[in-house]
Assembly symmetry: C2
Homo-oligomer: 232 residues x 2
DNA sequence: ATAATCAAAATTGTATACAAAATACAATCG
DNA sequence: CGATTGTATTTTGTATACAATTTTGATTAT
């Protein structure tokens, strides 16, 4: 074998990608508020680039629904009504259930082991005395990723990830209430057992319950932060 | 010249929108083949615009998955493998079933009447002596739109439309075989009856069967046109 | 005060310019 | 020949220029 000079491919990314990723994250984490204007020159100077890549990034964000474009009047961060959150959750529920069903059919023994391990990890993190939310959240994500991966459906994976990201703002809220950890552990366990048994109906059922609980938490969260500036 | 994109200067739309819509349609209808390169200057001169709006359009198409971007190496029309078609159909099936279920819950009496009318229209078009495929296809679309609208979920509507459009290339193929018209009429009828009776399970069942048949037709179509140039 | 008007400033839409990278292809070496 | 290098050409990435439109804010009339 020759020499394997491996240079970090992350060293360069097209600027529009960088701007896109950064703005995207800023919107999803709530760093940029709904209704806020995105002005090209300002963003460009902030990023230290020209308007061109900023415009490209904005067009991409619009395509993803994260910003709204009013011709000749610029872009604003899309406002997310309780209505639209309900819509997203409704779709995501169906997709998550589909994930569980497909996972029953297609998960490999190795992935099944990994799923079991992820459940245990989650349990350990949730029962730890310090209860680091970031750790717990990471375990939760890992667990879902294993199922998502097990579906073997790239498109589904992409769509579920996208929908989840739209809910990013509210993601950790439902983990703050440590009373529900026991319930979550049980739900995860039920999902694992169903998938391990290749029982599609049980998996769909268990997954549905799991999502419903998350939905309740998120909707409660939305209700609390209601009264914020709305627009369109 | 191979493609001759011309744009109507009468009505005003931002150029990137015009380019986006035109290219999008060209890709979905197969006018532009998978793997084909999209070169900025060429497209720009064809459209009679500068590279800027073309670049913006390409970024939007990439976001939608219709083109693949290779940094510094330009964009190509995304190739659709049989694999990815299967993935899309799998997701769309779940979403269509969800549509039927939600429609059961939420459809208005007026929309229900419209659905019945649409079924009759389809039947009439399918049993007509001339059997104009475009008319039949239009009825089919109208019928599905009514259900989609009845879900009251804008996000779902957008996602299902997007997924359907990805299948645009193969849409009409399954309507060419007039042997199946009787079956289609029956399936539509079953869906209508289930929704009218607000029977979610029956609606899901009927809708699932309907989609499965469509899927078979499309996958058969794909298998026929296999051996086409692949890439990534 | 409030509303209407209109020029100045700011912002977006589009085109172009130039640099960096990739590609094509001829010349060279083995 | 085939592989390799070097160079011209093409194409993309980014910045900038200018026109068209919208926004701002002062000014005036009601």
């Amino acid at each position: 074998m020759k020499h394997d000079f491996k240079l970090d491919p992350n060293i360069y990314l097209p600027l529009h990608e960088v701007v896109f990723n950064t703005l995207r994250r800023a919107i999803l984490t709530g760093e940029l508020d709904p209704g806020e204007r995105l002005m090209e020159i300002h963003l460009a100077t902030q990023f230290g680039v020209s308007r061109t890549p900023v415009r490209e990034a904005i067009r991409m964000l619009e395509q993803e629904g994260l910003v709204t474009l009013r011709p000749s009047r610029g872009a604003v961060v899309s406002s997310i009504s309780a209505e639209s959150v309900k819509d997203v959750l409704e779709v995501r529920r169906a997709m998550d259930v589909l994930c569980a069903q497909l996972a029953c059919k297609r998960i490999t023994p190795e992935a099944l082991d990994a799923l079991k391990a992820a459940c245990d990890e989650f349990k350990k993190a949730a029962e730890a005395p310090d209860k680091a939310i970031t750790t717990i959240a990471a375990c939760d994500v890992a667990l879902h990723d294993i199922i998502l991966e097990a579906t073997g459906n790239r498109r589904l994976k992409q769509m579920v990830n996208n929908l989840s990201e739209q809910m990013y703002r509210y993601r950790f809220e439902y983990l703050k209430d440590s009373d529900i950890y026991g319930q979550l552990i049980a739900e995860h366990s039920a999902i694992y057992e169903a998938i391990a048994a290749r029982d599609e109906d049980a998996a769909a059922e268990a997954c549905g319950i799991h999502i419903d609980n998350q939905e309740d938490a998120i909707m409660k969260q939305i209700a609390l932060s209601a009264g914020s500036p709305a627009d369109q």
